[in-house]
């Protein structure tokens, strides 16, 4: 009968191919770095990438949900900044305790996402423009709180910033990394093992079909923007741990880093195809580029952007090839 196979030549199913490419890229970069620079080839270098990019990872997780439905969320960087600003001002000004501030910040971020998702769904407006508006709104709100950087001196926050969780053999991570990893694991479970997660993929594959199959497409879309808002707020909290300050200029352009990480991780911008693990690899690749440039020493940090730009070109072309082939 008709048991067609995909040419029978690739042992790896086509859907894992983009992630595999990113994985190979990461390994290759690590190998080249280890070859060129002394002290590069250590586990701590990779862990440092996690430590320095935990907030980006969390934000990119939220972005993955949105992009999987075929949408985009440009507001994440601003929501991160707003979260640092709200945390800092509430703790430094009226002296609110962290266990009140953090839930409040998370609620505000989720609320913003919910509103944007609702507008996208209910009025059938391009997510690009709705979240662009959200981006300006959140960034503007930062400056209504204050135009200067507000330092955070709260003992809980400083403890989070300075605690080292020792692993084996002199390796260590920060508490933020633990939080980010938990977020990744939970998100991967949700995407793979729940109806909501599968609806995300279905809506991204074909919204029309998903509707006709009786799936709650509207609810799914609203939820992914809420998830993205939540992740941005959580990323903001992690950034506050990292920076120990709140500032309206924090996380400028982070939405683009998050999108870049998701795309480099092999998720199709048109939606419906991609894995959270790819996003993790994407963030690692971005972080490793930075690390290499620091190790190189003579290069200006702007080279990071140039490399990311080139990588994006390559990966977008790859995506085009994949989608062209699957359309036959």
């Amino acid at each position: 009968m008709s048991t067609l196979t995909l040419g029978g030549r690739t042992a790896v199913p086509a859907k894992y191919l983009p992630v595999l490419v990113t994985g190979c890229l990461f390994v290759a970069m690590f190998a080249v770095g280890g070859f060129r620079y002394e002290g590069f080839a250590s586990g701590q270098v990779i862990l440092n990438v996690f430590i320095d990019n935990a907030f980006l990872l969390v934000v990119a997780v939220g972005m993955t949900f949105v992009i999987l439905t075929g949408g985009i969320d440009l507001s994440v960087g601003s929501v991160v900044a707003l979260s640092t600003m709200i945390s800092a001002s509430l703790m430094e000004g009226p002296g609110w305790p962290p266990y009140l501030v953090i839930p409040l910040v998370l609620a505000i971020g989720s609320g913003l996402g919910l509103v944007m998702g609702y507008i996208v769904h209910a009025f059938d407006i391009q997510p690009f423009i709705v979240t662009l508006a959200g981006m300006f709104l959140a960034r503007g709100l930062c400056y209504t709180i204050g135009t200067d950087s507000i330092p955070i001196r709260d003992p809980t926050f400083t403890a989070f910033a300075q605690t080292r969780i020792d692993l084996f053999a002199d390796l260590w991570i920060s508490p933020s990394v633990v939080i980010a990893v938990v977020v990744v694991v939970v998100a991967a479970y949700v995407l793979h093992y729940t109806r909501f997660g599968r609806s995300v993929y279905a809506a991204g594959g074909s919204e029309q079909s998903a509707l006709l199959m009786g799936l709650p497409v509207g609810r799914t879309k609203i939820t992914v923007y809420t998830v993205s808002g939540f992740c941005s707020a959580l990323g903001g909290v992690l950034l506050s741990f990292y920076m120990l300050s709140g500032y309206g200029l924090h996380a400028a352009g982070m939405e683009l880093d998050a999108i870049a990480a998701v795309v480099i991780g092999g998720t199709l911008l048109t939606g419906g195809s991609g894995f959270l693990f790819g996003t993790v690899l994407g963030v690692l690749v971005l972080g490793l580029i930075q690390t290499i440039i620091i190790f190189e020493g003579t290069l200006l940090s702007w080279w990071t952007k140039i490399f990311i730009g080139m990588l994006l070109f390559v990966f977008i072309l790859l995506q085009r090839l994949f989608s062209a082939r699957s359309r036959r």
């Binding site: 008709s2 196979t5 793979h192």
Partner: protein
């Protein structure tokens, strides 16, 4: 012979859309274990009837009974829950997901809220084996052919204890082997006692698979017939409707055509139209006759370069030409008025003048705008010549009636002074007055030496205008008939029904 009790009965269904009576007193009954074909030309009301049945549109009149109990569905989901499942022409599945997910999406087996992938794959495999299919259910759907995707859609449809399965043109994008496979599945489901409603434009397929058919025409019921007792010719006649008031032909005297304008040899495109050869002379009106989906539009699109030909060659005025894009066709002075004036032709938010001038401007390029005086002069002339009403060049096209919109499209191409004008259903859905004007225009153009390729579902119209008629059936050019005294609509119908075998 005992007649089983119908599982579904629709009586006196009426449906009114603004300005159109889409359905008027239509009855339909589906018997368990039978394939029932719903037949009718475009606009006969088949899809409206299906939409009323599945709850997409509410009925204005009539009753629907499912297994003896009156029902009224508010949405396709409700209909599905009651056991009426529909598989549409366009496969409405998510090709990025696995086969198993596509079958069970929205009702995945779960354990404590967690999707149980193992049970899901097993269940999907079971459903597919009911259709005698064995697929790798964890592979993405996109790795399978369209036919298999259609089967998957059917598997999804029958998972919810379906009693009625509606297949809306399921075969239009399948090749012959795939159709056979689909028919095997349909027969199997039939044996299980499911009532199948089958819509197709392919007469051979209808005769092969269906037991009974209901014919609609212009929103009215023509009748219910046993397939084996209804010859194909009668079916075609019932679908098209014999308007035997034979109008005089506009071309009285026989003209001699000796200057070929366009010659197509072995031109074809896989899946759209089998290779055909066709010569159109200067000043000749060539009619294309055939049922919907027989390949009429496909021929037109190939000649205009809107689709790429897979095989064959074209010569224009004796020299080989490559018509790979509409632009290339336009440089050879070929114009194409598409069937779908709303989607492919007109821009409703621009004025009559802007719409008419569009193609002329396109040939000049944006650096050389058409001077306003020349625009006004040209547009004024064609508004007058074609009697576009209201005769106001600044009127928005969206506010014009269908017939006048069609005239605007025509004017746009006539400004370019084409040598070959392809008209795809130029008179569909427009009133009688506009219709005769467009017909007269075609005759005038032909007298002036313009070649016209005229596509119409109305045989009478084709006969009245054409010098010769090309007959199409199932995406094949089956016959070329000179339009002489011997050619009547009966002969045409006979040719369409028999596929030219009668010759």
């Amino acid at each position: 012979m005992d007649v089983p009790v119908p599982v579904l009965t629709m009586r006196g269904i009426g449906k009114q859309f603004p300005g159109v009576k889409a359905l008027d007193g239509v009855d339909l009954r589906l018997l368990p274990g039978e394939v029932h074909a719903l037949m009718g030309e475009n606009g006969a009301g088949k899809s409206t009837l299906i939409k009323v049945l599945t709850g997409v549109h509410p009925a204005d009149a009539g009753t629907i009974e499912l297994a003896g109990a009156p029902v009224a569905f508010g949405s396709p989901l409700e209909a599905q829950q009651a056991g009426i499942s529909t598989v549409y022409q366009e496969v409405n599945l998510c090709t990025n997901l696995s086969v198993a997910e596509n079958i069970l999406l929205g009702r995945e087996p779960r354990r404590w809220g967690r999707i149980d992938w193992k049970r899901m794959r097993a269940r999907a495999g079971e459903l597919l084996s009911r259709l005698e299919l064995s697929l790798d259910v964890s592979a993405p759907l996109s790795t399978y052919s369209l036919a298999i995707q259609q089967m998957v859609a059917i598997a999804r449809a029958i998972d919810v204890d379906a009693r009625v399965l509606i297949l809306d043109e399921p075969t239009s994008s399948l090749d012959a082997d795939e159709v056979l496979q689909l028919f095997r599945v349909m027969r199997r489901l039939k044996e299980e006692g499911i009532a199948i409603l089958f819509v197709s434009h392919f007469l051979d397929q209808v005769y092969e698979i269906s037991d009974r058919m209901t014919i609609l025409r212009n929103g009215r019921l023509v009748g219910e017939f046993m397939t084996e007792r209804l010859p194909q010719v009668e079916l075609v006649a019932k679908m098209i409707g014999q308007e035997l008031a034979a109008l005089e032909r506009l071309h009285g005297e026989a003209k001699v055509f000796d200057r070929p304008l366009i010659e197509a040899r072995g031109l074809g495109r896989a899946g759209a139209i089998e290779p055909f050869s066709l010569t159109v002379h200067e000043g000749e009106v060539v009619g294309l006759a055939g049922l919907l989906g027989s390949g009429r539009t496909e021929i037109a699109r190939l000649l205009f370069g809107a689709d790429h030909a897979g095989t064959g060659e074209i010569t224009v005025s004796g020299s080989p030409a490559s018509l790979r894009t509409p632009r290339a066709a336009m440089t050879h002075k070929i114009a194409f008025c598409s069937e779908n004036r709303k989607e492919d032709g007109l821009i409703p938010d621009l004025t009559v003048r802007e719409n008419i001038i569009l193609a002329l401007q396109a040939t000049r390029g944006w650096t050389r705008p058409v001077p306003r005086e020349q625009q006004d002069e040209l547009v004024g002339r064609y508004i007058k010549a074609l009697k576009i009403s209201p005769p106001n060049p600044e009127h928005l096209v969206r506010n014009l009636s269908g017939g006048n919109q069609q005239k605007v499209v025509l004017a746009r191409w006539l400004i370019l002074e084409p040598r070959l004008l392809i008209l795809d259903e130029p008179t569909r859905g427009i009133d009688v007055g506009a219709k005769t004007e467009i017909q007269r225009l075609v005759a005038e153009l032909s007298d002036g030496g313009v070649a016209v390729l005229f596509i119409s579902a109305e045989l009478e119209e084709v006969l009245r205008l054409s010098h010769k008629v090309e007959v199409l059936r199932d995406r094949r050019l089956v016959a070329e008939l000179p339009n002489d005294e011997a050619l009547t609509s009966d002969v045409l119908m006979e040719t369409i029904a028999s596929g030219g075998r009668a010759e």
